[in-house]
């Protein structure tokens, strides 16, 4: 069992100010995530799901309400919280192992321990033979694995994933989802995944949080009480997925014109249809 604490989010609000006035991204959001839990957050664009993730990571510090991890209020970033971005952010002048090692710059480890940790994590994502390859020599899926290895190499208690597989083809994506599940089980850490792919959310999560925009808030939570590894064709799996997808079709008709007009392009979608 990990030593990580419970993530406790109370009455969270976040506003951006712009020349046209303030814009409320999140309002009155409450969420508790248990240690070791896998939580997916789904929602159309503009529902503030990525902002929520950035707030938990500590990259955004100006907010109303409270975010506490193990009782401590989040202040700034921490090596205990890893994050994987959709745009990967591998540094093009560093090879795979150097990119992973970047995360260990300030880890309290000896040089040899760092080297071993980098090698172990590249092996975990199956890239030990590509340690010396530069990002432009790697495929999209391989690059994403490097980014995941980098997110995990510090042994964080929490890994935040911001649409990590959004840019990948369907086959690579489902393969990486399975790998992510394996890593989650092996490392026994908390994972919070933001995605607009409902199938991905259901496949991986213990609990799916459905968000809605204007201002961003939680619409409801859906538990996924299915045994792992899950089969995407399982009728119960399909039922949960359809249930969540219905939320989006109903919100499209019920929400005002702003939401309907602004979001059509980024509506949640069936994983296998893309």
């Amino acid at each position: 069992m990990t030593t990580s604490g419970t993530i406790d989010i109370r009455n969270l609000g976040k506003a951006y100010s712009s020349p046209q006035g303030g814009f409320q991204v999140l309002q009155g959001l409450n969420l508790t995530i248990r240690p070791g839990e896998f939580v997916s957050i789904v929602g159309g664009s503009g529902c503030g799901k990525s902002t929520l993730l950035r707030l938990i990571s500590g990259l955004e510090e100006d907010y109303q309400g409270d975010i506490r991890i193990g009782g401590e209020r989040v202040r700034g970033t921490s090596l205990d919280r890893g994050i994987v971005f959709q745009d990967l952010r591998l540094l093009p002048w560093l090879n795979a192992e150097q990119n992973v090692a970047l995360a260990l710059e300030n880890a309290p480890l000896s040089k040899a321990e760092k080297r071993r940790a980098v090698a172990d994590h590249l092996e975990m994502v199956g890239l030990e033979r590509f340690a010396k390859a530069y990002p432009h020599q790697l495929s999209g899926g391989m690059s994403q694995r490097v980014a995941i290895a980098r997110g995990l190499v510090n042994k964080p208690e929490l890994l935040l994933l911001d649409e990590p597989f959004g840019a990948l083809d369907a086959l690579t994506r489902s393969h990486l989802q399975e790998e992510l599940e394996r890593v989650w089980k092996e490392e026994d850490i908390t994972m919070v995944l933001v995605t607009h792919d409902v199938e991905e959310a259901v496949f991986l999560a213990d609990r799916v949080i459905v968000m809605e925009p204007g201002p961003g808030r939680i619409r409801r939570e859906v538990k996924v009480p299915l045994p792992r590894p899950r089969r995407r064709g399982d009728p119960r799996f399909v039922e949960i997925k359809e249930d969540i997808l219905r939320d989006f079709s109903s919100s499209r008709t019920s929400v005002n014109g702003y939401a309907a007009a602004g979001q059509a392009a980024a509506e949640p979608q069936l994983g296998w249809a893309t």
């Binding site: 990571s57 990259l59 700034g76 970033t77 921490s78 090596l79 994050i83 971005f85 745009d87 952010r89 540094l91 093009p92 002048w93 560093l94 090879n95 970047l102 995360a103 710059e105 300030n106 530069y134 432009h136």
Partner: protein, 261 residues
């Protein structure tokens, strides 16, 4: 392999075609007196004059003097350009304080500095070095500043995620990210300092130097000397430029092939 060398030989031939044609026409024109023979000298005469200078040891002395002067000015100018450009790029405070002044100063044509420099430092070596350094300073400072400013916010954010301290951030993220732009500045500086070296030798009369050869040739109507000066100026400038691009390509060898051409 054979096809490759064949291709590069053909390319080299193509590249030297235009200079060869010009030289051939010039040789013909001087030999047949299409050009006034009292001013225009034949390639043979130029070669002869160069051999004469070489025999005295003067030619290499001149080249050495000019290159040394260039090197000192280039080093000083590039170092201060990196320092000032780096400070302006890294500190918002320094940026607000210094960048407008830098942009004002860069608008002054480089040769307009000569009167002021001679007033401050006389017409000795110091004036020349400062002038050469100035011509390296601007491209390096401006490109360093620009390179640091264009580090993507996503890369800066990465430094925050991994809690890099300012030194780690500079070493691991900002400097490598700005490197292509900085190299562009240094390449520019290398060619500009060479031009200013010969220019300042010409305008502030130096001893044995390439600018000195040009000056002597012009004052005594010895076009052969002028040609020797021009050929050295162009040849060495070309070599320096090739060197700079080679070093740049080497330093950026692991990057996607977009910036280094």
């Amino acid at each position: 392999m054979n096809g490759l060398t064949g291709l590069s030989t053909r390319r080299l031939l193509l590249k030297s075609l235009l200079p060869a044609l010009i030289l051939g026409y010039y040789a013909l024109a001087t030999r047949n007196h299409w050009l006034n023979p009292r001013i225009w000298v034949t390639p043979g005469q130029i070669w002869h004059a160069a051999a004469g200078l070489n025999r005295d040891g003067f030619l290499w002395l001149a080249v050495g003097e000019s290159l040394l002067r260039d090197l000192i000015g280039f080093t000083l100018g590039t170092a201060s350009g990196l320092l000032i450009g780096g400070a302006l790029g890294l500190s918002r405070w320094a940026d607000r304080l210094g960048t407008p002044t830098l942009h004002f100063l860069k608008a002054i044509a480089i040769f307009a500095w000569i009167p002021m420099l001679t007033m401050f430092f006389g017409i000795g070596e110091l004036s020349k070095i400062v002038f050469i350094a100035l011509s390296a300073f601007y491209p390096v400072a401006l490109n360093t500043l620009e390179g640091i400013r264009s580090v993507p916010p996503s890369q800066r954010e990465l430094a925050r995620v991994y809690r890099l301290n300012p030194w780690q951030r500079l070493k691991k993220v900002i400097a490598p990210s700005a490197l292509p732009s900085i190299l562009t500045g240094i390449q520019l500086a290398l060619i500009l300092t060479w031009l200013s070296t010969v220019g300042v030798e010409y305008f502030m009369s130096a001893g044995p130097s390439i600018g000195g050869i040009l000056l002597n040739g012009a004052e005594s109507f010895h076009l052969d000397l002028v040609f020797i000066g021009v050929i050295l100026l162009g040849g060495i400038g070309f070599a320096l430029d090739q060197l700079a691009h080679g070093v740049g390509r080497h330093l950026l060898r692991n990057r996607p092939q977009t910036l280094n051409a």
